[in-house]
Symmetry: C2
DNA sequence: CTATTTACATACATTCATGTTTGTATATAA
DNA sequence: TTATATACAAACATGAATGTATGTAAATAG
């Protein structure tokens, strides 16, 4: 009952990734053995080792499956002025869209949980931190552009530099995401995330 | 060479805690065995198990050694109007003081690192998240009081509620701390943390 | 001064995770 | 049609971590 077709193999591969993500988000990366992942995916460790080098590789792939699409979508919401003319609204929509994805897409939600409170950034995962920092810088730059735009349109109520505003917004949102993830019951942050975003943007509005 | 005096025992106890903190922050909680902790502290696992129930207990104690004093000191900087009259300045000073402690005190720095990027909040550690949320709520409340004060003194440039401002500040600072910890090189955040805080507070000033 | 804790060190038992190797049925290429 | 590579399963070997149980010398209580 072995030697599946190429498509079958890809299916198993994806099932393993899904199983890993689910178990990572349930029990943390360290306490999730490849044996458990295999069992949860309905295969043996042989299959896991066939498709992936080790647990770390699985972690990276899980991360990429969420973040590569995310990075691709940034420009659409944030920089595309076709949909929304008001720059401040574009920033707001970008933040809201991220929250929305967290609410709607389980894979994204699980991945964020793993990345924020269910893995340890040491050894092979230590350099992921660098990646995160670089990603953040990119996002801040883009937000800065939009604030710059808003500034030119005299939509901003202070004379702070767009760079300062962008960084402040980014830190705010980073903090919000962290609390969102930690607030498993949802009472404190998950239910109010949208309002918090709107308030934050509102603070800049003339 | 056994059976130390009570003071000696307390010294070993503290050495074990210190060893745990150092190894946790170097290699993460999961990859730090009690054997390694014992060796690093110059004792055997017997001593560790004598003083602590298990690794989780050590984690909690490490956390408390930093957070209990921190909570105690909050009111001093934040609510004591004796030192600083300007409420906005008091908030700023509170945030700056926290950054300052991170810069100066190695134990605090290591503990923050462990709590934010080198442990997994699952199983026995899952309820620490609840603790964190509660702590945050307390801090937000206190910040809110100070903003309320600032509002009454007409120091604030917007008509947003003190509660909104407090939450926004808290999320900003949470985000900042997370980036601070992740930015091990220091180029992106650690070196600019104070400026970022001042900018944030400045955004509220009339 | 003796009995009893105390503060560990040492030894033991068990479990679990990892990586590698080997076996194998079948899809696929030639 | 046959040879080979593929997609796994199964078995093997190793190492590491945990918890507990036992041993023990010295501090301390009575």
């Amino acid at each position: 009952m072995v030697r599946k077709t190429k498509e079958d193999a890809e299916i198993t591969r994806q099932r393993i990734i899904k199983a890993a993500r689910e178990l990572f988000s349930q029990n943390g990366v360290s306490k999730t053995s490849l044996e458990k992942i295999a069992k949860h995916a309905g295969v043996t460790r042989g299959a896991v080792y066939w498709h992936f080098e080790n647990k770390t590789a699985l972690f990276h792939i899980m991360r990429e499956q969420v973040f590569l699409p995310f990075i691709d979508r940034i420009d659409d919401t944030l920089l595309a002025s076709t949909s929304e003319k008001n720059p401040l609204k574009r920033i707001e929509n970008f933040l809201l869209a991220t929250i929305h994805t967290l609410n709607e897409d389980q894979a994204t939600r699980q991945t964020y949980e793993v990345l924020m409170i269910k893995c340890e950034y040491v050894d092979e995962l230590a350099d992921v931190l660098q990646q995160i920092l670089i990603n953040c810088s990119d996002i801040v730059e883009k937000i800065e552009q939009v604030y710059q735009d808003a500034h030119r349109q005299h939509l901003i109520n202070s004379n702070h530099s767009p760079a300062d505003l962008a960084m402040d917004t980014h830190l705010f949102f980073g903090g919000l995401l962290h609390m969102w993830v930690k607030d498993i019951e949802g009472k404190r942050f998950r239910n109010h995330a949208e309002a918090l975003v709107k308030t934050h943007i509102n603070l800049r509005q003339r």
